[in-house]
Assembly symmetry: C2
């Protein structure tokens, strides 16, 4: 049922998917839908409610509804204030044990509050209090639009990790360093390959490749070697998450062959995984192909690692509350 | 002279422009070039040096050369360490008074250092010391790939601001709130329109538009009104920078007409200006058109405001050192 008053040529309707959205801003909400309709096969959205200044139903009512809706597997929210903040947090505490809630709470500063006054006129909340309540209730807080979408793609496209041991696979030394720095700054752990996997890869790959973490396939990497590196590591029990970074410019990487090689992994990756490609047209091609498979794709190493951090935080929250991991991405048993 | 060994079909050569690049990572460097070749008309790059572990010339030599090169107006660097850090900082102190130097210094954490060991084997520097030295020498530090490109686009496409009074123009209340929050968080100032401009706009625009800061043209905004808002504010002496945010989904904004209306401003904006459009296909169209005009474009409000912060920091540095603003974007006198 489509009650959005914007014409099709202005707003690309997304296909049906896992994500339901509550937004206190109509324009922001419509931009969400428009972007989601443009991603990959576009199958992202389940329900969408733009509720403005909440004269009849409020944010807590909508969250409760989405929490009980079996078609909603991920909840996104854009909030400027609360009509019933106490109930919102209570509902969130229950719902977040079943499905991820990713929320922007804007109106954080005096400048933001001034802008809100002429928009929804919501009251500002103390931002430190919001931060603490969100954390306690298991709400994943996004601070920017990039954050919100990056998180949404991660939760929609990746399995949750069982721990924080993260492996980087790349063909670019610099990209590996940037990703490693992000792992250090975000307090994740560089995974150590198990000794069998390490020895096998060292004997199979050219000796000037670096079989460590990052696994650096260097500027000589081929599509087959990229696929091989994934194949060898996806069942290594020492690894919880994989950050897969492709710089497509080196001459030997055939991106078409690489993407054909990734397809059979669509339902095989039982760890957390996020992807990155950096560059122009070939990176765009990689993004499009990965979006079709609904794998989480990012344009920079830092965002690719940050997505793993967000998945890991939520996984830790569920484990701390003895809650099972929700099944969002389908994986073969 | 093109000595890059990567084939044209793998690496899109950028056209000639203002930016020279030194990179300690070949793959990262090639990805830079590839992206720059894909932006707008692609006219971005002047010189490119990938110098790896710097066996003959080092980072300070290259910086000095770029500093004296009249065709280089902006310098980008990717560094993992220093062969001659003292001289690099000395050179930077002189060069930064003439042209912006935007640098990533990776290898910031123990995890990063581990990755560097198998890449350029550069020694890690204490990151707080790097931070302080960069600031003192007027180097604009980028922390991520997004940061680096966002900065490059800002310095290439915008005039420097004379102060920190920033105006937001938008058609989306939520986007205005997010941008205002970013202004608050980044310690910029919300500009106050001068009283003549404010009264004129209030009498010319529908009464339910908000002529404040943000100027909120609401979901009823037309292309003409968007252009009008720019026209009225670009000469207001109370404004140093403009953040121009378009959500193209509302029905009355004809994005083609809006972009046609922006073209005559190509050489007219004497303040700092950054642009944002949020959404799918129409936002992509806006990005492409603005890139052709070499105006700085960003996909999110936070990044659009952050770019103004970076421009303002550098402008403040130059003013503190009694150095004139370099002319990078051409503006009619």
């Amino acid at each position: 049922m489509d009650m959005v008053f914007l014409p099709e040529e202005k707003l690309n309707r997304p296909g049906v998917g896992n994500v339901s959205i509550l937004s206190q801003s109509g324009a922001f909400g419509s931009a969400f839908l428009d972007i989601m309709g443009s991603l990959g096969a576009g199958n992202y959205v389940s329900k969408f409610v733009s509720y403005g200044n909440a004269s009849d139903i409020n944010e807590a009512d909508i969250l409760e509804y989405f929490g009980e809706d079996p078609e909603t597997k991920i909840i996104l929210a854009y909030l400027e204030g609360f009509k019933d903040g106490r109930r919102f947090i209570e509902v969130a505490r229950r719902v977040s044990l079943k499905k991820p809630i990713i929320a922007i709470k804007a109106n954080r500063t005096a400048a933001g509050a001034k802008a809100v006054a002429s928009h929804t006129a919501s009251l500002a909340a103390n931002d430190d209090v919001t931060e603490a309540l969100f954390k306690e209730a298991g709400i994943i807080r996004a601070y920017t639009w990039d954050d919100l979408f990056d998180c949404m793609l991660a939760f929609n496209g990746s399995v949750l990790p069982k721990g924080d041991r993260t492996l980087i696979i790349t063909d670019g030394g610099g990209a590996g360093v940037m990703a490693s720095d992000a792992i250090g700054l975000l307090d994740l752990e560089l995974a150590e390959l198990s000794s069998e996997v390490k020895s096998k890869m060292e004997s199979d790959l050219p000796s000037y490749y670096s079989v460590a973490n990052p696994i650096d396939l260097t500027g000589s990497a081929t599509a087959d070697q990229y696929i091989y590196a994934l194949e060898q590591t996806i069942n290594d029990p020492n690894i919880d998450s994989i950050v897969y970074i492709i710089i497509p410019t080196p001459p030997a990487v055939d991106v078409k062959a690489l993407m054909d090689g990734i397809k059979p992994f669509e339902k095989k990756v039982k760890k957390a995984i996020t992807f990155c490609a950096i560059g122009g047209k070939e990176a765009d091609f990689i993004r499009e192909e990965l979006e079709k498979l609904q794998f989480p794709f990012y344009p920079t190493p830092a965002r690719t690692v940050k997505a793993i951090r967000q998945l890991t935080d939520y996984a830790n929250y569920l484990q701390d509350h003895n809650a099972p991991f929700p099944k969002i991405r389908e994986v073969a048993e």
